[in-house]
Symmetry: C2
Subunit: 338 residues, 2 copies
């Protein structure tokens, strides 16, 4: 491993050996519907609460990714992941059923890139051999927890984003003959706060964090944005994407190949999701249902995958605090790309 | 690095180069009072809310540990840590003021051993050079969030534990000439659930997780418990300690050198803390105010440090769920010990 300022470059890149995405009804009506491993009929998963339902999705997603790579709990060294529920209970409750160590993390919607980054280092260092990175969210659970219970029927702001109900899981190995893509580098994000207080405008809050992490990674690697087929952000949505491009332009960077996972998973006009999608499952499911399969089919060779997270809680909102944000980034490349 | 089942052994052990502990009024009246780097006069830290106060303690603790090792933000590669607040806001809000990447983790009261474990791997792998592991909690914020607001004046159960108001921070390097102690190994915990539902009896819920992780570490290293000067658990308290010793005895292990951080930080009788102390700051402050200084003075040569965490939330409690638990463990040894 090589360190260039805050960027970690893998000389022997760890790789993705398997991945799976689970979604619910709304995800099953969107453009990626057919690419999910499992679409559940409704957001309850036959459970009594939304929180339990999310836990079931975490379980099914991990099981699916393990099955696809023929990995059992005996040869899985750890699961690294988290979710949006207070105390990350979706992940913790799911992990009761797996005889595997859990490294619980919290990065809000930046969780997927963060967990892949840690997993890649674990796998490459020899501390572990096979690690599963996982992240989930649930629209109904998140709305109740962060904003208002759905039964109140609160009107959605045009800047609001729709939390993805689902889970994404990627299994990472230090070395493998059966690899889909490899992880070339990681840049972990710093915590920023530009004073945004509107919890119905996450995109605006998170855009500066995405801009900073992408710039740090480009500077540290010396790569031009067009070195990559695409630069993905996690869930900036329509508003956040405009702001990101503006911030980068001001810094002299024209991003022609930017894509936001929050604008990929739903049909924004037809599915009435206002500014786009969000949630810890947003970048996780788009990675596992769309981006990694495109590496497999050879459509993608090099991407930056930058998940963005807004780190407020209901308590900090009620206490009139602004929203701290972060963004973590991993560089993914095809196996035979130099 | 060597892997023996779930235990990671460092062939070139990373080391502690600095540590700091911050406490509040109650911690300043306990047996470790003089060993803290900073005792605040009250639990408000001159802030309007307890949540903000905890954030201030995180900041002061990190600053203090950095200062002691003459480390600036430029040569700190990352902070790895978390707290008990929903969405770990104490840590995230504090990190707005540090120009350093944050890897946010959630492990409830197991956070300190978890963050040291990750930090040690990061530092030893070469992914990072200098990493700060940090964890905090706040009695008033935790009671309101997990149980009832203090102003309700709810009666405390005899099994209840008192959440430590404070923060502990340890700075870890891959290699250094100025080291206090070294990290020989890490065992990350699995998630267990023995059906305990009583949120005023965390010790009972967590004891099986501590027992499992300690046994896994002893089995994987082949060491007898008496190989260590002491085997510390995080915050089992009086009840949890009895259960831990019983579980281990049933498995044929007599633990003569067990100590629980939850029974060290306060005078249980005089300070009216019922079954002992708890909280993500409990094992973190005892490590940084008591255990690591004893390595410095040569009083300790080898210990196991096993932080224990109860992973429920207020939502899962209200939904009548049981309490999932985990325990992470790091093996610490003196610098010149083989």
């Amino acid at each position: 491993m090589k360190r260039i300022n805050g960027t970690i470059i893998f000389e022997k890149p760890p790789c993705f050996v398997s991945y799976a995405a689970v979604g619910s009804k709304k995800e099953g009506e969107g453009p990626l519907a057919k690419k999910f491993d499992l679409i559940l009929n409704n957001s309850n998963c036959e459970q009594k609460t939304w929180e339990k339902a999310e836990s079931v999705m975490v379980k099914k997603c991990l099981q699916s990714a393990m099955l696809k790579a023929n990995i059992t709990t005996e040869n899985l060294d750890a699961v690294i992941g988290g979710d949006l529920q207070n105390q990350c209970t979706a992940t913790h409750f799911a992990m009761r059923d797996f005889d595997v160590p859990l490294i619980g993390i919290y990065g809000a919607c930046s969780t997927m890139a963060q967990s892949i980054g840690i997993s890649a280092i674990m796998a490459q260092s020899g501390a572990m051999q096979t690690v599963a990175a996982i992240s989930s969210s649930h629209f109904c659970a998140a709305e109740r927890q962060y904003r208002t219970p759905l039964v109140y029927g609160a009107k959605r702001a045009p800047t609001a984003q729709w939390t993805v109900t689902g889970a994404g899981c990627a299994i990472i190995k230090g070395q493998s003959d059966e690899k889909t893509a490899q992880i070339k580098g990681v840049t972990f994000g710093k915590v920023l706060d530009f004073g945004v207080k509107d919890i119905t405008n996450m995109g605006a809050a998170m855009a500066p964090a995405a801009a900073q992490t992408i710039m740090r990674h480009l500077n540290n690697t010396g790569n031009d944005p067009l070195h990559y087929d695409a630069i993905y952000t996690g869930d900036l949505g329509h508003i956040g994407r405009i702001l990101l491009l503006k911030i980068l332009k001001r810094e002299g960077i024209i991003l022609r190949n930017h894509k936001d996972c929050g604008l990929i998973i739903y049909d924004r006009q037809k599915q009435d999701v206002m500014a786009g999608a969000s949630g810890a499952a947003c970048s996780a499911t788009v990675l596992c249902a769309d981006i990694l399969p495109k590496f497999k089919s050879g459509k993608l060779k090099r991407v930056l995958f930058c998940s963005t997270g807004a780190l407020m809680s209901q308590a900090t909102f009620l206490q009139k605090e602004s929203i701290p944000v972060t963004a973590h980034l991993v560089e993914i490349s095809a196996v035979n790309t130099e």
